[in-house]
């Protein structure tokens, strides 16, 4: 009997030394104990496909197609992206829009809050939280990022800033895949707020807050 337990013990030791412990790093793909319906005959986003020649299940848009409802939550404005003010930042004469498109509700609190949130994620790494061009990437050799606070950038029309986000400019690539049209307008509003703040003087501070800053 002793020998039975001894062999059993050795088998357990052998098993543990082959299978190892939980949580150890491994490059082998996970073992599926019951693979029953783990992999069904359907495609998930960003998956592979053996059917298409380029191996992608997500199909690229054919040339000339306007994706309906992809860039906005507003069905009426979004249809065929016909609203040039909302999607191009241009007015009816083709000039850059100086205000905001009528489809965007300019609710200062909501729009600016959304703009701040999106700006911090998508713009601040390069342009800096203050829009002064001193984001973290500057320390790593990306010196080309401009500040928003010189005269040239302050004179840009809202539509032009919108266009830079949509199509990129020079070394800056497009952010249209990350920001739907409404969010781009929110970011434009926040860029404007940053520019306003950088050039503010004592007269702009609301009376109630002057004492906090130690000004009369």
């Amino acid at each position: 009997m002793r020998y039975v337990y001894l062999t059993l013990f050795l088998i357990v030791v052998l098993g543990v030394s082959i299978f190892g412990f939980r949580g150890s790093l491994s490059t082998r793909s996970p073992l599926e104990v019951f693979p029953d319906m783990d992999h069904q005959a359907k495609y998930k986003p960003q998956a592979e496909s053996a059917f298409f020649a380029d191996g992608r299940a997500d199909r690229p848009l054919p040339a000339g197609v306007v994706a309906y409802g992809r860039d906005t939550d507003m069905p009426a404005a979004g249809f065929l992206k016909a609203d040039a003010t909302l999607f191009e930042g241009k007015d009816s004469k083709g000039a850059w829009l100086t205000g905001f498109p009528s489809a965007v509700t300019v609710d200062p609190a909501k729009l600016l809050e959304r703009g701040q949130d999106r700006f911090t994620i998508y713009c601040a790494p390069c342009h800096g939280a203050l829009g002064d061009g001193n984001g973290i990437t500057k320390q790593y050799g990306m010196g080309a990022t401009p500040t928003f606070h010189d005269d040239a950038k302050r004179k840009l029309a809202n539509g032009e800033i919108f266009n830079v986000i949509t199509h990129g400019k020079g070394n800056m690539l497009s952010y249209a895949d990350k920001l739907p049209a409404e969010d781009r307008w929110a970011v434009v509003a926040y860029v404007r707020a940053l520019q306003r703040a950088a050039h503010a003087n004592a007269a702009d501070v609301p009376p109630g807050h002057k004492s906090e800053l130690g000004i009369k």
């Binding site: 599926e32 783990d38 994620i121 973290i136 990306m142």
Partner: protein, 218 residues
């Protein structure tokens, strides 16, 4: 008549019963230890086509998760970034690094970088990132400290029991949705504060994570 069985055979039935129990115990222990996600999935860290480091980009540079994983607050899938996302910066930094050759080729040709998927919910499970993000469930609860990993590995089992541990007591986990991508954030007042604020969030937003089968298996 000679003796057929030696005297010690009297103990044999008992010994067999004990042995069966011992074998059963070993088999049960081995299955629970080795045949569950905690062993099969946790620690999976495949070799990626580009040695991309979250510790550098998300940790050191402090880039928000959503800069790259664009879909995470919009829909079910947390999309892995396009090569253009990398080129936003890598058209200016490390422009001739051999490590980034695959990314540059992909950007030029339009074919995606063949990233290897790590976390995988079985196809019979319905999972949605944006509902969790919108309700203040941080990435760290399900993915661990990604911002400290040079190579991403699966840190949590993502098994049914794991999901339910939270769905039964969300107040232990939910936080202000603004903080979901701050993986190092912990409630400043510790567990007590977390539970107090968590209860408040659960009440104010009427958070009711599904516990019925059809919630996740639809």
């Amino acid at each position: 008549m000679s003796k057929l069985f030696p005297k010690s055979a009297n103990k044999l039935p008992l010994q067999i019963i004990i042995l069966v129990f011992v074998l059963g115990g070993i088999a049960t222990a081995a299955t629970t230890y080795y045949a569950t996600n905690k062993y099969t999935n946790v620690g999976y860290a495949p070799v990626q086509p580009v040695p991309f480091s979250h510790a550098l980009h998300a940790g050191q540079l402090g880039i928000d998760c959503r800069y790259c994983h664009v879909g995470v607050d919009k829909g079910p899938t947390s999309t892995v970034p396009t090569s253009q996302t990398c080129m936003n910066c890598h058209n200016q930094v490390k422009t001739d690094s051999p490590l980034l050759q695959v990314v540059r080729d992909s950007y030029a040709s339009g074919d995606p970088v063949p990233w290897v998927k790590i976390h995988q919910a079985p196809d019979y499970v319905y999972f949605n990132h944006s509902v969790h993000i919108a309700r203040g469930v941080s990435c760290v609860e399900c993915h661990g400290r990604i911002d400290e990993m040079d190579v991403v590995h699966q840190a949590k089992p993502l098994s049914m029991g794991f999901c339910l541990d939270c769905h039964r007591a969300p107040e232990n986990f939910v936080r202000d949705p603004k903080l979901v991508t701050k993986l190092d954030w912990k409630h400043p007042e510790g567990v007590e504060g977390q539970v107090r604020d968590g209860k408040k969030f659960v009440h104010d937003w009427n958070i009711k994570p599904p516990q019925s089968c059809s919630g996740c298996h639809r």
